[in-house]
Amino acid sequence: MSRVHARSGTDTKQALVIVAHGSHLNPDSSAPTFAHADTIRESGAFDVVRETFWKEEPSVREVLRIVEADEVFVVPLFISEGYFTEQVIPRELRLDGWDVSAWESDGTSADHATYEAADTGTTVHYCGPVGTHDSMADVIIQRARSVTDDPTVGPGFGLAVVGHGTERNENSAKAIHYHADRIREQHDFEEVRALFMDESPEVDDITDHFESEDVVVVPLFVADGFHTQEDIPADMGLPTDGPGEYPVPGTVGETRIWYSGAVGTEPLLADAILERASDAGAEISDAIERVRRSTRETRDVVVGEP
């Protein structure tokens, strides 16, 4: 298939493509992807920003042909490294010669690798998922601040980082532990725990894992859906009046639970997407600073800059 160039020959634009899972059933699944794409559009960091989905359109198979750029930064909006980031997305993008070893990842350290897409000839800088970038720790903490409405949240509070967990992919849990460990080292929460829906330690027993009276619970999911709005609140024993209808804070036993909903809905996540592209060589000048300013009022660096 031939490339279709802008006829001026000035086709040296820099584009960002955000890949997300999407859903055939849940209309809210794509919402965070669109919201973060809009934040990045407003920052002016890229000439073109486009969303694409595994389950929705434009499909990953067809997105490159509708992005007018020879050079595209592709950032997966996924929580962990694994099946989607290592197999499905590279295959659907038709990345010639893709091999996961290019990332040299230990399960949480994928960075980026450059390939040509077979159908369009586009140069694709394929980045690791947003969820394993170091800046996700900041996003989790920002989520804790948002849900407690307390910019200094930490002392006196426990923090539970909740993942899906799956027997099929050990990296799924690795990403959760990775962020929990870093926040524990670098932030002043009383206690930080990694908990899971489908493996131990389980979120069902949340009050057994904390001594603090107040516990912020941040689920590492991209979008709000069945898991974050029904499963996890029910597992924890929060009183609910239906999907997404739970008190904040809610009381379980002697513990006040500040449940934040999906981390992916936090506006600051746009920053982590930009960081991924920047690490891969995208020239985005001061866009990261602008996005940080627009998505939160203050930024306390809790982790050393890479």
Partner: protein
């Protein structure tokens, strides 16, 4: 309508290498210009005379400028010119039509109208649902940002989520009233993603179709098993998902390059180049169901009850259950009729005629 000086200057410069576009021809030889349009030819013009002739034939000049001096991709250019019938209408007729209400094309359920702006130099585009063609503008929600199309595309008029963007269920009641060509393309791209580009590739004989076999072979994980489907099952699958009543794309893929499917491809203007994610997801479910072996069951039904079962399946398949009137007891899919049949013929476990579904179904 006036031709701007910049247009005339651009035309004069372009004459050096020769202008030939949509019936307009301008050349220069030894410092004198020749300006020709169909049925009219002016030779030996100096620069001032060229400007006069260009002004007198401004439609040809602004048309040339619009289509050759504005940066667009080839697919954008081809599509926007198709919208205004550039291949079929000469410039004067086209300009008349664009000035008097515009030229309209249908794209799926979209009605797209091209008009000229006040200076008659630039095209402007409006886009609405074809069912809103005669709706008063005051009754439509007017948008100007292509990004808003994402929300329009998400739910149908009944508020149901649309997992397939090209399903013929696009919401009505909205209007993008005044878009540039580029904004129009972005709007369409959110309503019917990639359709313009694939249409363009098809027109140029470059559409990269992925047939069922290679698409199925590519799948991994939970979709790996869809390779089991073939032959008649693919006919039934495409009849279920891919006909015009379900999707506006025209199916260009088959079982393989030399194994066509008989299911009608559809009359859509834009092509479908490979089985979409929804078809793959449906196929997975059907693959699992098709692993079952048929069994013989014995039911007792009256002739009308047999027909009623056929009507019920047909009503669901055609999506007409919402239309059946509350008291229309002549319709076998009427709710009271269905509830009566259930009360009469199902046992307390919901089994038809009390017949066990499988041998290990021991509910008594």
């Amino acid at each position: 309508m006036t031709v701007s000086r910049s247009h005339i200057a651009a035309l004069r410069d372009a004459a050096d290498t020769g202008v030939s576009f949509d019936g307009l021809s301008v050349t220069v030889d030894d410092g004198t210009y020749t300006f020709a349009i169909p049925d009219e030819r002016h030779t030996g013009l100096d620069a001032a005379e060229l400007a006069d002739v260009a002004t007198a034939n401004n439609a040809y000049v602004t048309n040339w400028y619009h289509w050759t001096r504005i940066d667009r991709t080839d697919s954008e250019q081809t599509y926007l010119r198709w919208l205004e019938h550039a291949d079929g209408l000469a410039v004067p007729q086209r300009y008349d039509a664009l000035s008097e209400g515009g030229l309209t094309r249908l794209w799926g359920e979209l009605s797209i109208t091209t008009t000229l702006d006040r200076d008659e130099a630039q095209r402007r585009y409006s886009i609405r649902h074809e069912n809103d063609t005669n709706t008063d503008r005051a009754e439509l929600a007017v948008y100007d940002d292509p990004l808003d199309a994402r929300e329009i595309a998400k739910h149908d008029d009944d508020g149901h989520y649309r997992p397939l963007k090209t399903a013929p269920t696009l919401r009505t009641g909205w209007l993008f009233a005044d878009l540039s060509g580029h904004e129009l393309l972005r709007t369409i791209d959110f309503l019917y993603p990639a359709t313009v580009h694939n249409w363009y590739l098809e027109r140029h004989g470059e559409l990269d179709v992925s047939h069922w076999r290679e698409t199925a072979q590519r799948q991994t994980g939970i979709y790996d098993l869809i390779e089991e489907l073939g032959g008649d099952q693919l006919e039934w699958l495409t009849e279920a998902c891919c006909v015009d009543s379900q999707c506006l794309k025209r199916r260009q893929w088959d079982e393989s390059d030399d194994e066509p499917l008989d299911t009608p491809r559809g009359d859509g203007v834009f092509p479908c180049r490979e089985p979409c994610s929804l078809v793959i997801a449906v196929a997975r479910k059907l693959t699992l169901l098709e692993r079952e072996q048929p069994r013989e069951y014995t039911f007792e039904l009256t002739p009308s009850e047999k027909e009623q079962l056929e009507t019920l399946i047909d009503a669901v398949a055609e999506g007409r259950t919402e239309e059946i009137r509350e008291a229309d007891t002549d319709d076998g899919a009427n709710r009271y009729r269905a509830r009566y049949l259930r009360a009469k013929r199902f046992d307390e476990h919901g089994r038809l005629s009390g017949v066990p579904t499988s041998e290990d179904d021991t509910e008594n």
